[in-house]
Subunit: 458 residues, 2 copies
């Protein structure tokens, strides 16, 4: 049977697979900062070259932002599409990294070997699991068992401005029977999950301006409006005492969890104390009347991701600043309407704004929440394949993160998505010292080989 | 009469006076940032050299921080002490400066010529008015008309940590009949003021820590406490709807304004709309039931001078930060007790702190408010001298800023202080594009010559 030969090939070639991943991790493809534009191009070029070597027909496709990488490989039967992103998060604060973020290394930890680098888990390590699975499969069998396309973007960490226009312009080329998205994690240490529920995301920057320049608080203190104080008041009013979000109409379209899903989640025996202790916390801080899994998977949130204004250096400066800024994001669920939420936020801020203050907004394209339909047979086949590879039975789960691509595959291409990934809770994605377990990388490659095998069965 | 010869000498030598001030302005003596320590030393050395050239016995005196400059010149009769500071504020945001902050220039503006540079008004330009007055007086008369000491410090913008220990260790050397402090402004355009009321200052940095590292809001959003939100809530609770500060006991020791002072201030016909319009504001934003002059001179304040936490770069990063920090300051009046206010603030913050959050404080030595006794005859003599030089009669005024040295002269040396300065409301001290009117510098030098003359009369 071909699958065992493919798995053997994966095991024998694994140190080369790791070397190739390291090449990709050395490229500083930070998409949010225009200083790194050339590095994003370099990452795309590297992927085109690798995929061509394996046997894909691969090309870099220009957009108004960072390029897409598209690759196709012909085969029998149904067509699958694999999605990942080659861009990474910024690395600040740099001084909290133990090693330079773009010099990957393998480290021994108490939980085994890990690959340490920015992007190791989010998403370069994950996307390379599929690339390496295809490489091994083609090496053993000459070609893949199904028609396979690959779709890598370079703007996932910066709001994906080119994604929808590109998909709309290339619908026929991208359509497939199922999409595979590798940007999520295992449930706990050993349980592979297939995500069927994803939160949406709304991001908005709010800048309050008071006086036309920074003032000396000795001269103007007491008579001048202070935009930091105005911003504090606005932000403090976004939640009530029970952690509920106060914006008008915010909970419109938020469903209660169906009983069958609620039962499945109870069976997962999620150890929320362990999850919180990992980062020195002990108490769930969300809505008072919700379970920990609801807080992170099925309830909407509002958070301030960044705030700044006035003097931030060493020592003190008794300044009354001209401006204060907050970066705010909302995680959405069910049928919550991003447009309505942005409108409600702006109305609320306008109602709080004192005389002599103005407000400026910067937004990114928002995404609605996504709910997968698991009736496609590929879901159960993938669940079986994953259960063969991992110690515990695979299960359908939720995900607190926002992976808008799944919604776009459904809306634009009418394609269902399976979100399967091998990250762990302690991977520190978006933080200093990001890592990806070496076992996640290895078993991830093996998992995709098994999924290709199962999906190609009648 | 010697004074007219001195004034002529000042006028004839004025362009050289300006050149000398430019030399001092080119030294980047930012005291709040340890990267500029060598520049602070350089400024002290430059002053010692200048004062020695004029005829003072001048020396640089080491402290645990930046050095003091002390200079003495013998003479008949009473002894005066002049105080100024050679350190300057940080220059950020640097991109808002039209010219480099340490490359002084003379610019033509619609209101006349100005000297543009960091420190031009605060306090290098001001302290040099006295130095140049002494230079001219000695040039004409061979020596000063009274015993004169000069006391320059280099830590005024960073909380003056060495000041009190230095004064306590050198009491006999520093004692004098009156202290002259040049770090304040004219009232309006043409009315010189002698400040008799100064607000105190309390500065404290508050750092809130939640999770032990930055988190991804997709994974932890909804269940993790967010220290920015905690900080917002704390800061938003510091003022009530009427602009009153809510800390327990905060207004203990805050006096109502005596009728005679209130009447004097009414006579000043302060144009608060003009004052606010200068920075594009229109409405006094302090306590609802107070006059504009009370807000800036005789009422206490609480302000956030800086805030930061989470992602502050270009674009968005959906991070839940580990820490959030605010720099808070209070301006105090009357008998308000700084220690009690700090205690009350800490108790309030402790009462707001949710589970899993901790708080860290960094404080600078606070100062109480100061009220001068104007019974010393020097006050009236200086008022007459100033009235001779300026278009309008000089008057006794309040000052919203905090110049703790005046309190220390009283407490440690038992010496009254006269605060006389030539700054203007639009000098942009502590802001980008700081300036000092060339006429302030010129007439400031002439003012000190006249004051030396009057004070030396019986």
């Amino acid at each position: 049977m071909s699958i065992s030969k493919v798995l053997t090939q994966i095991d024998e070639d694994f140190s080369n697979s790791t070397d190739r991943l390291f090449e990709l991790l050395r490229i500083e493809s930070i998409s949010t900062d225009s200083n790194y534009d050339a590095e994003c191009e370099k990452a795309a070029d590297w992927l085109v070259s690798e995929l061509s070597d394996i046997g894909f027909k691969a090309s870099k496709r220009a957009t108004l932002g960072h390029p897409m990488v598209i690759a196709h490989s012909d085969g029998p039967g149904s067509k699958i599409m694999f999605y990942g992103h080659y861009d990474v998060q910024p690395v600040d604060p740099l001084d909290l990294w133990d090693n330079p973020p773009f010099e990957p290394s393998i480290e021994d930890t108490k939980n085994g070997k890990v690959i340490r680098a920015r992007g190791a888990a989010d998403d370069k390590g994950q996307l390379m699991t599929f690339v390496e699975a295809c490489r091994a499969w083609i090496k053993v069998n000459g070609k893949l068992p199904v028609k396979t396309s690959i779709f890598f973007e370079g703007e996932e960490e910066s709001g994906s401005p080119s994604l929808v226009p590109f998909m709309e312009a290339n619908t026929e080329e991208l359509k497939s029977d199922i999409a595979l998205i590798c940007d999520t994690g295992l449930f706990g240490e050993e349980t592979p999950g297939i995500v069927t529920m994803l939160r949406g995301l709304v991001k908005i920057e709010v800048e309050i301006t008071g006086p036309s320049r920074d003032l000396h608080s000795g001269m103007y203190g007491g008579i001048s409006i202070n935009p930091i104080r105005v911003l504090n008041k606005i932000l403090a009013g976004l939640h009530d005492e029970d952690g509920k979000i106060t914006l008008s109409g915010f909970y419109d379209g938020v469903p209660e969890l169906p009983q069958n899903i609620s039962d499945q989640w109870d069976n997962l025996s999620f150890d929320h104390l362990n999850f919180l202790n990992e980062v020195d916390l002990t108490k769930p801080a969300g809505e008072a009347d919700r379970t920990p899994l609801e807080m992170i998977w099925s309830r909407p949130t509002c958070d301030v991701n960044g705030i700044y204004g006035g003097y931030q250096g060493e020592g003190f400066k008794t300044v009354l600043p001209s401006k204060a800024t907050a970066k705010i994001s909302f995680r959405l669920v069910g049928d919550q309407d991003p447009k309505q939420i942005l409108k409600s936020l702006k109305q609320y801020i306008a109602s709080c704004l004192p005389p002599d203050c103005s407000v400026k907004f910067i937004e990114e394209t928002p995404s609605k929440a996504t709910q997968m339909s698991t009736s496609n047979a590929a879901f159960e086949k993938a669940r079986q394949a994953l259960s063969d590879e991992w110690p515990k039975e695979a299960t359908f789960v939720g995900c607190g993160g926002s992976i808008p691509i799944a919604g776009h595959f459904k809306d634009i291409l009418n394609t269902d998505s399976m979100l399967i990934g091998f990250g762990k809770d302690d991977d520190k994605i978006h933080s200093p010292n990001e890592k990806y377990d070496l076992s996640s990388f290895h078993k991830g490659i093996r998992s995709w080989a098994r999924i290709l095998d199962k999906i190609s069965e009648d």
